[in-house]
Symmetry: C2
């Protein structure tokens, strides 16, 4: 039994419940020092009471085990919409006041705490970045458990408790995350203790897991690889006792697992606690004759008419007084010694753990000089490399140099090898705690490449890892990264908000490598073709977003180095894994990436001096190749045409400076693209994105964009660009159609281009391969 008295735990719990309800309702009279009157009540009653008493219970009891055991603990509050509960806990443990000194731990501060909650200009209703001790918002449900595992990886001394609501447990990402048990290394990683909180209801419905027969729920959790411990009840004293015992048993078991881990065979069965308490517990039992406590009616605000309905007001007062606030707070509103008896000290407090402010723990990543990995480029466009394989060397170096620190991981849905990043496996393995067979490759209990066929889990793991201060990269099929559209939304929102909080230290950026991209789905076809993630993220806060389309191996190295060194961004890097011409030496690549967009003198015929007749612009590896091939065709067939080639790596450069920190000023844009010449822009993705970025530019009326327009199937690489009118021949025709006077003068050239497209169609029909002249093409020197 705990050294801290159950009565002290109950006092803390009642205090937290009082504070949670107070935040939802009270504008004034925080200590109920006078009878409750309508003017003490907030004009708009917002927030979620239903989940709150369960969260306060967990906060109270985690305090106790932290204090008893000196255990470093981070808690992920899955039901993050129960913001009042977590705010209450952090106010009680002093973290809140330490973070926000004007919200003092006394009556005045309590009044502020109450007033600011869900109040315009105050704090949000959820466990948002503003809440000390949190790395998880919990508005969009589903990611708590993956976040918890991400936080636990490579933190061997850390306990990550994770409260999972039974609503959230119905989501796909959460359901998949249970299998993280097969990826947690008891030697090198911390422990995750899921606390499945079955309060029975979501918004207006019962939850699936709460209505399973006991045996079925038990089978399910054992099937996930857990040993379940059950705590059920509505009598606080019994629940306190049972929950304290369950926590002790769980932590004892974790200690045993970790002690035995270095010599253990097989995968441990980690504990899970099932906490079954009523929704809206300790709130009004009935309102207006309808049952509320322990039903879906307690989800948000159980008493909705308090300002106008005297009976509701009376019920609220009774409810608040039922916590016996005079026993919990002194006359000045300070929590009594009994309430504070179970609270740990300093950075052990849940509200003050540095694991929840990961930037405080971040170390710069050791990145070897790029020279070690760069490919030599004497002449552009003569050699071919697989860009991601070259990147693999860089990542392998980081992996090697973090072997002891263990603060770098690469995640992906089983594509590290197929995305040509296999060099990593010289320095680490793929994390795997389940059974192995002799034919398996690269599996290792302590591996830092993480592969599970769930983009959701990959993303959640990585977010948790980054939010607790470590580094990483997510390599994904370009099309399927849409699976985490909504997750990246939430992470971007978290970063945007965090950047405005001075006490939150910057964390390593979330780095995406999008490869196996739209243009090279030879095996898979239409379902694997979607370049729209860039469009999706560019809707979000520009201060957080960076999008790079390196055209070759060395530029990929340069942007990857930059991304891995950056903080508080989401970096989206789109790069192919197929052999791709090397255009720039490392030095040239660095200079080009630093500018983000620039003229490739050697590729055009305007000598960098003449005003061009036309600009051929490109962004992305395949479009760059087609633009250079088009430029070579123009040089051969229309040698007096002044063609300028512009390559864009950093797509935000196209935006106005007011809309993105990387946006070019107009004069710089005009210097690259001109104000009045035709610009034929070959873009990797949906063509209208370029228009959306550049519509305010002087030359926009002359901008003509080619890109992917949903014309996809299983076919050859060149057929893909032909189908989408992005091919060299079409680009030359575009030039001829748009440069004034050329239509007549170059009509024979135009016909040759049209003929080449016809020849392509005939050849591919007969041979199933690309035209030899395309397959063997190289930049003419």
């Amino acid at each position: 039994m705990p050294r801290i008295q159950l009565s002290a735990l109950d006092a803390h719990w009642r205090a937290a419940n009082y504070l949670a309800a107070g935040q939802i309702y009270l504008l004034d009279n925080p200590l109920l020092t006078e009878p409750l009157r309508p003017e003490h009540i907030k004009p708009r009653l917002l927030g979620h009471w239903g989940t709150s008493p369960g969260l306060t219970l967990v906060y109270t009891h985690l305090n106790r085990i932290i204090k008893d055991r000196g255990q470093d603990t981070l808690c992920i509050w899955g039901p993050g919409h129960g913001g009042p509960a977590v705010l209450a806990g952090s106010w009680l443990d002093g973290s809140y006041t330490q973070t926000y000194p004007d919200v003092t731990r006394d009556a005045a501060g309590m009044a502020r705490l109450f007033r600011q909650f869900s109040f315009p200009g105050g704090v949000p209703s959820h466990v948002a970045p503003e809440v000390p001790g949190s790395i998880h918002e919990g508005g969009e449900l589903g990611y708590s458990l993956a976040h918890a595992y991400g936080a636990a990886f490579d933190h061997p001394g850390l306990l990550v408790a994770c409260v999972i609501g039974d609503g959230e447990a119905e989501t796909g990402p959460l359901a998949a995350s249970w299998h993280s048990t097969k990826f947690l290394d008891p030697v090198h990683d911390g422990a995750v203790l899921p606390i499945l909180h079955l309060n029975g209801y979501k918004i207006a419905n019962p939850t699936v897991l709460s209505r399973l027969p006991e045996a079925e729920l038990d089978a399910l959790l054992k099937g996930y690889g857990h040993e379940p411990l059950y705590v059920t009840g509505s009598d606080p004293r019994r629940v306190h006792r049972a929950f304290a015992q369950a926590l002790d048993r769980a932590l004892d078991r974790i200690d045993r697992i970790k002690a035995e881990a270095p010599t253990a065979q097989g995968r441990p069965r980690w504990p899970v606690i099932v906490l079954r308490t009523p929704k809206g517990w300790t709130g009004p039992e009935t309102v207006d004759g309808e049952p509320v406590e322990d039903t879906w009616r307690s989800h948000q605000v159980p008493l909705a008419g308090v300002r106008d309905n005297p009976e509701h007001l009376r019920q609220l007062e009774q409810w608040l007084l039922s916590y016996r606030p005079r026993e919990l707070f002194d006359a000045d509103g300070r929590p009594t010694d009994q309430v504070r008896a179970g609270i740990p000290e300093g950075t052990k407090r849940l509200g003050s753990t540095p694991y929840a402010n990961g930037g405080l723990r971040t170390r710069s990543l050791p990145i070897r000089p790029l020279e070690a990995f760069a490919v030599p480029v004497d002449k552009p466009g003569t050699t071919l490399h697989e860009p991601t394989r070259v990147l693999g060397g860089l990542l392998a170096g980081v992996m090697a140099d973090t072997a002891d620190r263990r603060d770098f991981r690469v995640v992906g849905p089983d594509e590290t090898e197929s995305n040509r990043l296999g060099a990593l496996f010289a320095h680490t393995g793929k994390a795997w705690q389940a059974k192995t067979r002799p034919t398996d490759h690269h599996l290792a209990r302590d591996g830092r490449v993480m592969e599970i066929l769930s983009e959701h889990v990959c993303q959640g793991w990585l977010e948790g890892y980054l939010l607790t201060g470590r580094h990483g990269l997510f390599s994904s099929y370009e099309a399927f990264v849409h699976i985490v559209d909504s997750m990246v939304n939430q992470h971007i929102k978290w970063l945007k908000t965090s950047r405005a909080l001075p006490w939150r230290a910057p964390i390593p950026s979330l780095n995406y490598l999008l490869t196996s991209h739209v243009w090279r789905q030879d095996h898979n076809g239409f379902s694997h073709q979607d370049p729209g993630f860039v469009d999706h993220v560019l809707n979000k806060s520009p201060e957080v977003l960076r999008v790079y389309l390196p055209p070759d191996a060395n530029t990929l190295l340069s942007v990857a180095e930059h991304a891995l060194e950056s903080r508080d961004y989401v970096n989206v890097i789109v790069a192919g894994k197929q052999p791709c011409f090397d255009w720039l030496s490392l030095d040239e690549a660095r200079a080009h990436c630093a500018r983000g967009a620039g003229i490739w003198d050697w590729a055009g015929t305007d000598d960098g001096e003449r005003t061009p007749d036309v600009v051929l612009a490109c962004a992305g590896d395949v479009p760059t190749q087609e633009v250079l091939a088009a430029s070579a065709l123009l040089r051969a067939h229309l040698p007096d045409l002044a063609v300028r080639v512009v390559n864009v790596v950093d797509i935000a450069r196209l935006m106005p400076r007011e809309e993105h920190p990387h946006g070019m000023p107009d004069h710089a844009y005009d210097a690259l693209f001109t104000r009045d010449k035709p610009v034929i822009f070959a873009y990797h993705g949906y063509p209208w994105l370029i228009h959306r970025l550049a519509y305010r530019r002087a030359g926009h009326a002359h901008l003509h964009v080619r890109g992917y327009k949903e014309s996809g199937t299983t076919t050859t690489p060149f057929d893909m660009v032909v189908r989408n009118d992005l091919d060299r021949y079409r680009l030359v025709m575009d030039v001829i159609d748009r440069v004034p006077g050329l239509a007549v003068r170059a009509s024979a050239v135009r016909q040759r281009m049209a003929d080449a497209r016809t020849r392509h169609h005939a050849w591919i029909r007969d041979h199933g391969t690309d035209l030899p002249e395309v397959a063997s093409w190289a930049w003419p020197h």
Copy 2:
């Protein structure tokens, strides 16, 4: 034991395997009538062998039970990338030839079948819409089981077999879908038989489920509510026998469940089959000294160098001959009687079931005249209604009138009531097979409102329901519909491809009601604010996409009616659930929605005649209110200014006609928006979307768009529009700033507007509510 001999089953299976391998490799010599030479081999070897022999096994044995029992059966092929297997099955059962008469069921047709596979201009490598008998692509993994349940709902006589790969089983959506057992009504719905195919590997890794201890896997499946049946082996004879027995037991159990259902208490334990066979089974055991069969190396093409490597060529020939093709096909390439012995007839064939061509079974939905639900509007902007509640009446009518037909369902993640669609519950309940308690509301075993807290499962269920010919609507929080971004991508791709296949009958549209939208997240704040789904879908094939932003209740009725009657679209309807002014009578609403965009004469001061000085445009309910309030302010303060108000319901009207079938011709656009007057456009979502749609219009340089710019939190409705510069005062200031000559003349008015914003900030800080003048505003008559 089956009436059909196991030897016949084995013959069918070998024939299907032969055909699957042949599709991956052979360009010619389909029957191996001459020794295999390099020129018989495809130049590009594409496809996925690894999963194929498992799929052919399932095809073979499903044929048998269909024939034995006359059981209507649809199969969802989760590993849809194993296209060759399913194509083989449908060619053998004659469905393929019936659908594509030039691919005859003989040697010439076999040659075509082989050549076209993954060949440019041929058929995709996956089980795409082109494949008869399929409703599921299986490229982006995760949705097979939800599709299966969707297909089974309200099809009481149907068996839906669902092959789930162990790779797919790691995904979130699949993991969540297992709990569909709590939503399948054995009386009114069909049966779903999951066949979990553990072949052990995904791309380069073992799979989680295949490496669980037997007891753990068993517990997991029982935890999902299933009774597992196991079939394990690599000896074909034993596996045939065991799988046939397992299928018989499963179907017997299903028959028993359904027979007992009308009087049974509680939820049945449906069978699941676990089929454990080697990946790449019957393919090359080793290649170049490395083990291939039963390892990850057999995932795609086990022998990669066949054209150049004589040893590989020899191995391929041996492999193909190991199926003993001369026993399987006669000299003309026709499958022998033995191969065909187990194949069912007519529409019972898996490749010919009308359930996989759902449009054939679709009936028009009974929709009552809108007059029954419309709100009376004598004068615009004087009464308020909750638009979605009004829509609820319409939907409830449909629900009532389909009580016997049972071909309409409403899905959503537990928000039907909170989204104000509760009228439905007068005519149906929420589907629920688990335990109930007295405080539950509206739960019913035969309910046709489907609520689970997983947007993935909701979407998957609905897709399966629609693809098999029925109707439905998905009501979602606007922000969280991004959770299914990637799923709607795949559904749009399916529809786009299907529309080009004359044999696929049009199916009911996928209708989204996006409510609880960005402007009204009073309880929830920033994490719940994202209007970007419209941007996401508008990247996709325009012929499939329709986006509506009805400004009030009657316009919502009109677009909903249109959406429910349509076919082969994805209709996205964005509409609020909060009280909203009624602007148009039903007749006006119908006329306005038919036009998609139009001038609201009564709201402007240009009398519909004068050339306006400025156009105030709006799309969405909240922007419409702010524009009308701005128009009223302008009328009061600058009465001689000619203001035109334009409302846009159908957002694609803004696009050029060449880019969307609903796009307006330029003259129509100019007639609405003018070519040269300032247009202040208040848009519901991200403002740049409007630019992206309208950048080609003559007046684009004068277009100024206000919308949501990621400035969100928990706050009041009016504070949200102020934070994002979409409020009436800001719009008036925009007008003054942009109409030539007004800056000086109206500087005092501009100051009053700025003062009103300042007053707002002060008021909200002190009161936490909106300015009384805003809260009580109504259109001035």
